[in-house]
Symmetry: C2
């Protein structure tokens, strides 16, 4: 966390200048430049440098800058600039910190917390607390709340910096601290932690171990990353994309990440193909059916995607309460859009192919399949969630299978009943 | 922003107790309960109460609680609990504040900022600043940075609360303040503001008007909301869903919100239908073609969705630098997945329909269409962005048209060349 200090001169951080200083071996001067720069700027600089230059700049950062600043820089770097490389370069205490964090499971409070927090003994007075703050505050990433612990490091209270300024210096911390502190366990899921911080508008949340000892804090800047990731994650999964794939991901890795979803979808494409193949006799008689069947299939798929997207978001945000009401609503929306699109699409098709019955079949099929889309789009994610399967990952494959089958079966089924009504080709 | 104070007893905030106090007219006691509770809890309580009870609780909140607390509660409420209702209930100063905010355009810094900030004159000493803070800090939503202004309210610097604690009391603010403050104009886009706060790990960012006068601050809790919204917005648009549609949106409103996208898609479904209709002679001869043509179309659509989703996210996060490199990479991924799925799908189809040539045509078409998907999925969003059209909103309609046409044209085109090689039906 930074107030607003920035590089005094922008020129100071250009890669050119940094390279020059590296070659001159001006470690001290470079260290001062890196200290003054924003963590995000240092991270950018490091990612621009190559090979040995980068390693050199890294080691200067580690030797010349405060641990808190180094931690901030690291948190700004992409996971690709791997922890291993950093660990290899780091020594003694900071490395121990990072290793400790890595002991916690991924996606938990323990993994995203910083062990650099400021905690004081409950017996201390305000005056003592202020003096401790004056001496040691520079070491810590963020001091906005002062966490208060007892003799055995158990978290017992919290005091805001503001309260510290407005209370008589001889008062003991335990007299003014708020004792009902919101805290989380190291094993708590990072999404839950992030939501708690966001909901209660906290700047940091203390993390305690199984014995209730204070072991770290999760700050709001880390929470922002988690919440952004989470908001995008479900919607990405719906499109068959994992959150880790970026435009910059290598071709080999993208291929590996996407292949399973495409292969799963390949299997599902057999279902409508199989349905259509059953109606080959009807299609042989009137080949235009093969052209028009793609319309209810496509429109059902689009409706399903809309419904599913709204549902996945609703489930993620815990907004789904009455299933019956939601299904009923989506059915109405599906019916409404089915009628609108069915009528318009049918008129165009009837005129173009000079067949009233072709238009009629399309209209019926469109309405049916958009209802199928509404039901599948709402019920499948709810069912998957009940079965403890992530609805965001699995829903779209199932739902589009339903709408592909629903569209082809309803259209060709009705068409085959009216096969003698179509123009002869 | 809250330190950690919470309702002393959870029973105090149950709807039952609140109702009892409302009926007894115990405004003072209820006021104290509302003051102690977290904003999010008060907001939830208010949303549970109905009609006159709600209005009463509102008026108690406004009369008995501090403006900052009221503002926090309001920010936790859904937009549905409309500003109008609140304005009607509010009087004098707080209402003036809200009206002032409403004067700014939607989605700007001016609209999301709070006008309750703590600013001090540059000539003040640390001692004077601390005493001002002690007297007035309760009025403000958040005091972590002290903004420093000159005689004409121009923002000239910033001092952290931490710095205040660690500097000699007789020092003037202007001697210790950081002068290079990151600030934004009231008209700045809220997304840009949010990204600035997130990138530089700020807790708040000062907002200045066109004359550089400090008029408000945007705090990190509001930034969290903007960033979550933003992360989801583009991906929702890609699925034809507007960010305002939730599971709880009324059927009529959902219908209106979704209809335009579906109608646009309806138009695009005519293109593949038209392509397929051109090959009615081939389909009449071998109707199985009608079944299998849906496979390259579907797989192209899935590949396009994946590619497009990654691209839209990359564009939003400004990660797209070298267009040529990205297109090349996506083409390789598309080619790879086309070959994998083409081979597997073709073998299954060749065996099932006892036709080597049918499998061969499918394999070629799948590879071609997954390349089409890769090119359309990367180039269309880039082109739309260059044309200043939001790629998230418009891309998917164009891209799927390309893959539907690409899939049907390549499959039926090649099939018609080999029409005499297929089994006779």
């Amino acid at each position: 966390m930074e107030t607003g200090k920035r590089l005094t001169t922008n020129a100071g951080i250009t890669v050119g200048v940094v390279r020059k200083l590296l070659h001159r071996g001006a470690r001290g001067r470079l260290g001062r430049i890196l200290t003054k720069a924003y963590p995000v700027e240092v991270a950018r600089l490091l990612s621009t440098l190559k090979g040995s230059e980068r390693a050199q700049a890294f080691s200067i950062l580690l030797d010349e800058c405060e641990a808190a600043h180094v931690a901030s820089v690291l948190s700004e770097m992409s996971p690709a600039d791997s922890t291993a490389q950093v660990l290899a370069l780091m020594e003694a205490e900071p490395a121990a910190d990072v290793r400790e964090l890595l002991e916690h499971e991924e996606r938990t409070a323990g993994r995203i917390m910083t062990p650099n927090f400021f905690a004081l003994d409950e017996e201390m007075t305000i005056a003592e607390a202020v003096s401790a703050l004056q001496k040691r505050s520079e070491e810590y990433e963020m001091v906005f709340y002062l966490y208060v612990v007892d003799k055995r490091d158990h978290l017992v209270g919290v005091v805001s910096l503001r309260k510290l300024l407005t209370t008589h210096p001889s008062t003991q911390l335990k007299r003014i601290m708020v004792t009902d502190v919101i805290s989380v366990n190291t094993g708590a899921d990072q999404e839950g932690v992030a939501r708690l911080v966001a909901e209660y508008n906290l700047l940091a949340i203390p993390v305690v171990d199984d014995e209730d000892k204070l072991v770290g804090i999760v700050t709001v800047d880390d929470v922002i990353d988690v919440l952004q990731e989470e908001a995008a994650e479900d919607l990405l999964a719906l499109a068959g994309v994992t959150a880790e794939e970026r435009v910059t991901t290598s071709a080999a890795r993208s291929l590996r990440l996407r292949a399973p979803w495409l292969l799963l979808n390949l299997i599902t494409t057999f279902f409508p193909a199989f349905v259509i193949a059953q109606f080959d006799w009807a299609i042989s008689k009137y080949a235009v059916l093969a052209a028009i069947v793609t319309m209810p299939m496509g429109m059902g798929g689009n409706t399903a995607t809309q419904t599913l997207t709204v549902m996945i978001r609703g489930l993620a945000l815990n907004e789904v309460s009455s299933v019956r009401q939601i299904v009923l609503k989506q059915a109405i929306v599906g019916l409404g859009n089915g009628v609108i699109n069915g009528v318009i699409g049918s008129c165009a098709v009837a005129v173009f192919f000079k067949s009233f019955y072709l238009g009629l079949v399309l209209a019926c099929s469109m309405v049916i399949n958009m209802l199928v889309a509404a039901f599948a789009g709402t019920l499948i994610p709810i069912a998957l969630k009940k079965l403890k399967i992530d609805p965001a990952v699995a829903s779209s494959v199932f739902v589009t299978t339903f709408t592909d089958v629903g569209g082809s079966l309803s259209f060709l089924g009705i068409a085959s009943l009216l096969i003698n009504r179509f123009p002869h080709t």
